[in-house]
């Protein structure tokens, strides 16, 4: 086991895949400047800086991927992806279907997002659900160094366009990464903590808040299961349903805005497919419908925190306790 920062785990994944497959290349604004190790090993044809122009960075990746390359592009911050939406959504997401399957687009588009660096709403916008809502794309948002490496490798090998979101506040956090070949499949959630009473479903750094909330709940005798989705599309519906059916209580947690976020989809899946197993309403703990703030205390208030998650989870037991009290008093 090695200990790597998330940034280095991503770099190691890309380096391994570039050694494995000569069609893998990487470009973006500052890529060759910041990933000197990759530049030194693979040279300036495969590791490139680009003009500061997200549309053409993405367009070049889409066109090159259709012709057999496997580009990884760094679009820096998620809100900058709005300048590449035509290329990512209309071209990469749709042209396979619209051409009757003549093309495939094996590309990875990375961007950072999330609170923690007080950069404000034009550098931090958790817009992952936009891409989940767009056919033809895959979306991942890991939470551990091992998963960043393993999912990046799988994303590069996947024949479809993958949006790869990186929590900027976690970029230089360290974590254990298995030695040797380490692949994490797209579309598979991970159970971070097993529990029997309530399920906390999350992704990205909100998983950490859920784990902290689970510790708080355990002190009160409530055993929470924490599910890290890792991939948002494909979504691991089986893992979601299995845990919900086991515990009967679910809180979905994400930093993205509430309305039509991934949490809304999960709540709908549970209503459709696990209704009879639910002992309480599905709750969502999300950011409010406001642009991400830049002031640090406001960032903390914006993003889901452990206390709020624990309180929400505990509230799901109140109706039971009320019922018990009613039975006891009758």
């Amino acid at each position: 086991m090695q200990c790597l920062t998330i940034n280095d785990a991503i770099g190691q994944a890309i380096a391994e895949e570039m050694r494995r497959d000569s069609n893998v290349m990487m470009f973006g604004e500052g890529v060759a400047t910041k990933r000197v190790d990759l530049l030194n090993e693979f040279g300036g044809r495969r590791i490139r800086n680009t003009p500061l122009a997200e549309g053409i960075i993405a367009g070049a990746a889409v066109g090159a991927s259709a012709m057999g390359m496997r580009p990884v592009i760094d679009l820096l911050f998620a809100p900058f992806m709005t300048l590449a939406m035509d290329e990512l959504v209309n071209s990469a997401g749709k042209l396979r279907y619209m051409s009757g399957g003549q093309f495939k687009f094996p590309l990875v588009a990375m961007a950072m997002t999330g609170t923690g660096w007080t950069v404000g709403a034009q550098h931090n916008h958790n817009l992952e659900a936009w891409f989940v809502h767009s056919p033809g794309l895959k979306v991942v948002m890991p939470s551990t160094a091992a998963d960043f490496k393993g999912l990046m490798k799988s994303a590069i090998r996947d024949d479809n366009p993958v949006l790869f979101f990186v929590e900027m506040a976690m970029t230089f956090d360290s974590g254990e990464v298995p030695d040797g070949e380490h692949l994490v499949p797209l579309g598979k959630a991970a159970v971070r903590r097993a529990g029997s009473d309530v399920t906390l479903i999350s992704y990205g750094k909100s998983v950490r808040a859920c784990e902290a909330a689970a510790s708080q709940l355990a002190e009160k005798g409530v055993f929470a299961e924490v599910i890290d989705l890792r991939s948002l599309k494909p979504l691991d519906e089986a893992a979601i349903l299995a845990s919900a059916k086991k515990t009967g209580r679910v809180v979905v947690v994400h930093e993205a805005n509430r309305m039509c976020g991934v949490g809304a989809e999960i709540a709908a899946i549970l209503a459709e497919k696990a209704f009879v197993a639910l002992k309480a309403p599905v709750l969502r703990i999300t950011s409010p419908d406001v642009p991400a703030p830049s002031s640090y205390p406001l960032e903390l208030a914006f993003a889901p925190q452990a206390d709020a998650i624990a309180t929400a989870a505990a509230s799901l037991f109140e109706s039971d306790q009320k019922a018990v009290r009613e039975i006891q008093s009758s």
Binding site: V62, G63, A64, M69, D86, Y97, M98, G101, P135
Partner: protein
């Protein structure tokens, strides 16, 4: 460097232009009687498609746009399969999943057709990048209009191609119309080649209704790309003589301007240049008409996609 294009080759170009004209006029006529959805034609601009594609080699690639029939037919596409695509039939080049607006035919090297104006420029950079990375030594011809040149992707694409030395032949069909807006309302000068030159690449503007001139200019551009490995820009100065799409009454078009350009029709001009007699022209026209009629009938008779294809080909 002005050796004549041999008459046989020019006659082939004439037949190709007549085929495109007949294909598009039939599509418009069928729309008018409710048998086909609206379509975007390139009537009046056929010399660009035919002249440039004639200069390309088999290994070269083409990106086109919503006005694609000319480029496809010039590349040897089967009109029955394009009609089938327009009609949403399973035998279309895209299994009926494109419709008229984004027809790709990878088997012909016509790739990644997008109807988002400007997307062809963005994607061409990537196709050129792949050619460069893979050492294919081919040329990527990207067809677009003056409308697309007004998109940011035009400048982003030309800049990247120049900086990265991508083997792209940019072909701007300056047809004077950006949907329903005349080009002169949208730009301070006339020629897109002026913009291209400022991106550090050689840029030429050619009489786009003279197929021989277009062919020669494309050859020169391709030679430049092959010799230097750098992109080249070719503007064809032409005119869209039908509407933006069918139906379109063109009530917004200055009739004098339209008449002046119709007098410069590229097919008429080549017929005059070749000095064919009436019988020869009739023979060609009849052959073309029969081919188009047969193609339409084949497309009409073709099956629609299976309903299961609604959800196929989304992911690889």
């Amino acid at each position: 460097m002005t050796e004549a294009v041999e008459p046989g080759a020019l006659r082939g170009m004439l037949e190709n232009m007549l085929t495109i004209r007949a294909y598009e006029e039939k599509a418009a006529a069928m729309q008018a009687v409710g048998q086909a959805a609206g379509t975007c034609t390139s009537v009046g601009q056929e010399a660009a498609a035919v002249g440039v594609v004639a200069a390309l080699g088999a290994e070269d690639l083409i990106l086109t746009n919503h006005r694609s029939a000319g480029h496809l037919l010039a590349r040897g596409a089967d009109p029955a399969r394009i009609y089938a695509e327009v009609l949403g039939k399973a035998t279309g080049y895209c299994k009926g999943k494109s419709g008229s607006l984004h027809v790709s035919a990878k088997e012909l090297g016509v790739v990644l057709t997008s109807t988002i104006v400007g997307a062809e420029l963005s994607l061409a950079a990537g196709v050129g990048l792949a050619s460069s990375m893979q050492g294919r030594n081919n040329v990527v011809a990207c067809f677009f209009g003056d409308g697309a040149a007004s998109e940011g992707s035009f400048h982003e694409s030309l800049n990247l191609a120049a900086v990265w030395k991508l083997p792209i032949l940019y072909v701007c069909e300056n047809n004077q119309w950006q949907a329903f807006v005349h080009r002169r309302e949208t730009m301070p000068m006339d020629h897109i080649s002026d913009w291209a030159a400022s991106h550090g690449m050689p840029a030429a503007s050619v009489d786009g209704n003279d197929v021989e001139a277009v062919y020669r200019a494309a050859q020169a551009g391709i030679a430049h790309i092959k010799t230097t490995g750098q992109p080249y820009f070719l503007e064809t100065w032409t005119y869209r003589t039908r509407g933006h799409y069918e139906p379109d009454d063109q009530g917004y078009v200055d009739p004098d301007e339209l008449a002046a350009w119709r007098a410069q029709d590229p097919i008429d001009r080549l017929q005059r240049k070749l000095d064919l007699d009436a019988v020869e022209i009739q023979v060609i026209q009849k052959r073309v008409a029969q081919r188009i009629e047969k193609a339409w009938n084949e497309a009409i008779a073709a099956p629609y996609p299976a309903l299961a294809d609604l959800t196929s080909d989304v992911y690889a």
